[in-house]
């Protein structure tokens, strides 16, 4: 997957979020960029530090990092659920931080959706009530909103459970409700804060597939948080890696794994199976291919079997169909064994 150069849907520049007393003053005195030492002395937590990023229309942008690295805080700054200490957040070109109460409410009602780690379903409403809730808030009449809610419930595969209450559902089902609810208003941007972390591995996988299926239909712009690299590999177009509140690298999963910006990122991605991220295009060398051809974006892990099974070398085609070269067995083996690829 290559970087999509679509329009920028959501971006932020120089966003800071400091927790503690007199955070603004500290930021001002330190010239807008206090270092670790200054923060520690002031007893202030630097949850988000000088973050700038851009999310393109229709891409799945994943923010990942260890627990406490500031992912949730960053996403809450992007949706302005919490007020950043400094910086600007641009949503469709408009500075979100300048929006007044009324405008913000409108944006949230019509353009943003959010899915929460612990589902955050309203316990007193049925599935139908929960999914229809955001529409009810907007004052949509009952029949319209329930029709729309039923549509969403069917979309996430919960048909037949409309009048169940959240506590009567399994974790996976509850999160389906959370997803249906956040989609009911047809948001332009979709925030998901570790939506599958509270689920056990089998259900998580199933939900990831479900999520990809939905995205293939809906094509939303998505900001997704996780601390699980498997999830990144399966879902991400681009990722940003956070450490102690700062973003230390942004890129495709392949870039991050194969060209880590810092030793922290290298360490972080050490156990990621290379075969699952490196694409065939990277390994293509000049040569004469047989009849079997694979696209450049195919993952090495997915084509490896054929490389060894076929008599003839396998060819690699670019996105536009031009041949890029062939795959060498030695290169594929290196990737499979986790060795550094030879140049």
């Amino acid at each position: 997957m290559t970087v999509k150069s679509g329009t920028i849907k959501l971006g932020c520049r120089g966003v800071w979020k400091l927790f503690g007393d007199h955070a603004e003053r500290l930021l001002a005195t330190a010239g807008g960029a206090p270092d670790d030492e200054a923060l520690r002395q002031a007893g202030v937590i630097g949850a988000v530090r000088d973050v700038s990023l851009e999310v393109h229309e229709g891409e799945i942008f994943i923010i990942m990092g260890l627990s406490g690295s500031g992912k949730s805080t960053l996403v809450r700054c992007l949706s302005r659920l919490i007020e950043p200490t400094a910086g600007e957040v641009l949503f469709e070109g408009q500075d979100l931080l300048q929006a007044n109460e009324r405008e913000l409410m409108d944006i949230r009602r019509h353009k943003m959706g959010m899915v929460f780690q612990h589902f955050a379903l309203l316990p007193h409403l049925s599935v139908l009530g929960n999914v229809a809730f955001p529409l009810e808030i907007q004052g949509v009449d009952r029949t319209t909103r329930e029709a729309r809610a039923n549509e969403m419930i069917e979309l996430v595969g919960l048909k037949g459970r409309e009048d169940y209450y959240p506590r009567e559902l399994s974790g996976g089902q509850q999160q389906r409700v959370g997803i249906a609810r956040s989609l009911a208003v047809g948001p332009d941007i979709w925030f998901l804060d570790e939506p599958f972390s509270a689920l056990d591995p089998l259900i998580r996988r199933e939900m990831q597939d479900e999520f990809l299926r939905l995205q293939s239909v809906l094509k939303k712009t998505i900001v997704f948080i996780t601390h699980d690299f498997d999830e990144v590999i399966r879902l991400a177009d681009r990722i940003a890696i956070m450490q102690d509140g700062a973003i230390i690298q942004t890129g495709t999963p392949e870039e991050v794994v194969t060209r880590p910006a810092t030793s922290y990122v290298a360490e972080f991605t050490r156990d990621v199976p290379r075969a699952k991220v490196v694409s065939a295009g990277v390994l293509a060398r000049p040569g004469q291919a047989g009849s079997v051809r694979v696209p450049a974006s195919a993952r090495v892990g997915d084509v490896a079997a054929r490389v060894f099974d076929e008599e003839q070398p396998i060819g690699v085609d670019g996105a536009d169909g031009t041949p890029l070269g062939v795959l060498h067995r030695q290169d594929v083996l290196d990737i499979l064994l986790g060795r550094e690829p030879r140049q």
Partner: protein, 668 residues
């Protein structure tokens, strides 16, 4: 393993530091008392000329409020009168519906609509109980209300119920709105917290006086007092419940684009529902607690019956009405608790799309009640349980009392006199004769050790108020009665708690008994006590001990049960005997929690003491009581504040001790 025991042992040794302190304080106090003749006069008895006339100031302020105060558009008096009018009107309607029926016109043409039938009401309540809980509760409710009918308590009970039915919704709503305001604005919370603290520690009688003054004698004043008494826990529980809503749900509400109002009423309040229902239950219980007390300023019904009987020493009658209040209290408690704990709706429970189908039970109940009114007009026995079917055990109880007086009087008198002469009076003499600077000094020093200079200033400032208003001696009598009762309650309650933790069966049984005891209105405790011991300090003490025992037991059980299991296992692994485990591991670790129980015991003892003024004590309670009789606002408020200040001093000292100790033990 050794590390674990060290962890327990170390703080034990460190806290020994406080033993010499308390020893020294006791010796100092003893010496000061023994040699008080050598101290200057003013240190032993606070001089009259140093007092401030705070009581008349307050009384004058109240008079100004009634006579001259105005809000511009309307005067203060018009304000109170319109409140009184509103509640009076509602109360009349409820009385009419439940107890008296409605009469239109006069004389010959008078047209009377009877009240709701006793039978229909029982059926509806049983249906409700079945709905919120199940068959057991339904049976229990039926039994309670049949008792009311059979023992001739029905019409009084309905008057009481009518005032509860009106006051509870207002109390809940007021508490909810104030709680929401406090949740939203930090400054409201800061402003309201000390007020709530004070309201929970000032004895109820004390604010009966100003209410009496503002609203006059009668059921409306009684109902307003009940609401003021019952609403504070609702405020607290509302704030707690709203705070307890998971952060994600709050965030979701905002993400969905809720306006402020939508966020509160569509997200927060429903999500906090179970906590809010606990508040409702508290309001119901406290309102019922007030039933007898409220009858002192004009509430009718069961409370009036009990009070009237107690004043005439008609034990049998008092007992029957007291049991009626208790049953009503327990019935409403169980009903509201069941409603609070009812599992949320399950799918399919709201089947049927029509309004009629969804609210079938409500419709049936409405039809039944309305029908019973019509039937009652035709057949009087349907409306009112016939007099000739009632039973009474009054005679029987009077005979029991007579028998007790004849056969046990001498024995009881001997025990009572011995205790009075050898224990109670000397302690009383000591407390009253103890020079006030010494006591204040010891308290301030204790405060300083436990919480720094702020906590040292607190007893000084509160003590100064007691001195300045000239209530020191009465306050000391209160402290003596309260202290002695608390010691006895602790000596009974803690062993009982230890016994109860022996097995989970015992724990369950003990907690069930305690829960029931705590639903009894405080006045009810006086009945058997008067029956056995007639009036005086001794009776007061017994009633206070009985009333205040519950928290000592409850907190002991809780404290012992929350000791981390691994510490107990470590002890067992080292070969401690059961007794050693109890005394060397469990008790030291549970002590901070037990002390919180003692704290509660003190608070309850103080509130009960005021009520025992009815049996002739000479303490602050009596002061409040006479203020009520004379409608002397100043005296009532001042004496009430003095009681509250004793409570606050004890509370703050014990709380900070417990906090410190828990931190030391790492069981916070």
């Amino acid at each position: 393993m050794t590390e674990v025991t060290l962890e327990v042992a170390r703080p034990r040794r460190r806290s020994l530091g406080s033993v010499p302190f308390w020893l020294a304080a006791a010796i100092l106090a003893g010496l000061a008392y023994r040699f008080s003749d050598y101290l200057p006069e003013w240190a032993v008895e606070y001089p009259r000329s140093w007092r401030l006339p705070i009581e008349p100031w307050i009384s004058d302020a109240m008079k100004w409020l009634i006579n001259d105060a105005t809000f511009g558009l309307f005067t203060f008096q018009e304000f109170t009168r319109s409140i009184a009018w509103l509640f009076g009107w509602l109360l009349e309607a409820a009385y009419g519906l439940l107890a008296e029926g409605f009469t239109f016109g006069k004389g010959e043409e008078a047209f009377h609509i009877p009240h709701v039938s006793w039978l229909a009401l029982i059926i509806v309540l049983v249906m409700l109980a079945r709905r919120v809980s199940g068959r057991r509760l339904a049976l229990f409710i039926a039994a309670c209300f049949v008792y009311l009918a059979v023992f001739g308590q029905w019409s009084s009970a309905m008057i009481t119920l009518a005032s509860i039915v009106i006051s509870v919704p207002f109390g809940v709503l007021a508490g909810l709105l104030v709680g929401i305001a406090a949740y939203r604005n930090a400054w409201v919370e800061r402003a309201i917290r000390p007020v709530l603290d004070l309201m929970q520690t000032v004895p109820v009688f004390a604010y009966l006086v100003p209410i009496l003054f503002l609203f006059g004698f009668g059921p409306v004043a009684a109902m307003i007092a009940t609401m003021i008494y019952a609403a504070p826990p609702m405020v607290r529980l509302t704030v707690l419940a709203l705070r307890g809503v998971p952060e994600e749900i709050k965030e979701y509400g905002r993400m969905a684009g809720c306006s402020q109002r939508q966020h509160m009423w569509k997200v927060m309040v429903p999500a906090a529902k179970s906590g809010l229902l606990v508040g409702l239950n508290q309001v119901v219980m406290l309102s019922l607690n007030m039933v007898i007390i409220a009858s002192m300023i004009g509430a009718g019904g069961l409370g009036f019956d009990v009070l009237h009987a107690l004043r005439r020493l008609a034990i049998g009658e008092g007992l029957e009405a007291g049991i009626a209040i208790t049953l009503l209290a327990i019935a409403l408690d169980r009903l509201s608790q069941a409603a609070a704990n009812k599992p949320p709706k399950a799918h399919g429970s709201v089947r049927g799309a029509t309004w009629l189908a969804r609210n079938r039970l409500v419709v049936i109940a409405g039809v039944l009640l309305a029908g019973s009114i019509v039937a009652g007009a035709l057949v009087p026995a349907v409306a009112t349980y016939p007099e000739s079917w009632t039973l009474t055990t009054g005679k029987f109880w009077d005979r029991v009392v007579e028998w007790l007086n004849i056969n046990l009087f001498d024995t009881i008198t001997i025990v009572k006199t011995w205790l009075l002469v050898n224990i109670m009076l000397p302690i009383k003499g000591f407390m009253v004769g103890l020079p006030w600077p010494v006591l204040l000094g010891v308290l301030a020093f204790a405060g300083w050790r436990l919480g720094g200079w702020r906590l040292a200033l607190l007893p000084l400032a509160l003590g100064a108020f007691v001195l300045l208003t000239g209530n020191w001696e009465k306050a000391m009598i209160t402290v003596y009665l309260c202290g002695l009762s608390v010691v006895i309650a602790a000596m009974t309650g803690i062993p009982l708690g230890i016994w109860a933790t022996g097995s989970s069966r015992r724990t369950g049984a003990t907690l069930a008994v305690i829960d029931t005891l705590q639903t009894l209105p405080s006045f009810v405790y006086l009945i058997p006590v008067i029956m056995l011991f007639s009036v005086g300090d001794f009776s007061a003490m017994i009633a206070v001990v009985a009333f205040a025992l519950a928290p000592a037991v409850r907190y002991t059980i809780h404290g012992l049960n929350q000791v981390p299991e691994h510490l107990v296992e470590a002890g067992r692994a080292q070969g401690c005997s059961r007794r050693q485990i109890l005394w060397k591991i469990r008790m030291p670790l549970a002590l901070p929690e037990i002390m919180l129980g003692i704290n509660q015991t003190i608070m309850m003892a103080l509130s009960m003491l005021v009520i025992t003024a009815l049996v002739g004590t000479r303490d602050l309670g009596q002061e409040v009581f006479t203020a009520l009789a004379k409608a002397d606002t100043g005296q009532g408020i001042v004496a009430g504040l003095c009681v509250a200040f004793i409570a606050i001093t004890a509370d703050r000292l014990i709380q900070s001790w417990s906090r410190q100790r828990k931190a030391q033990l790492g069981v916070a």
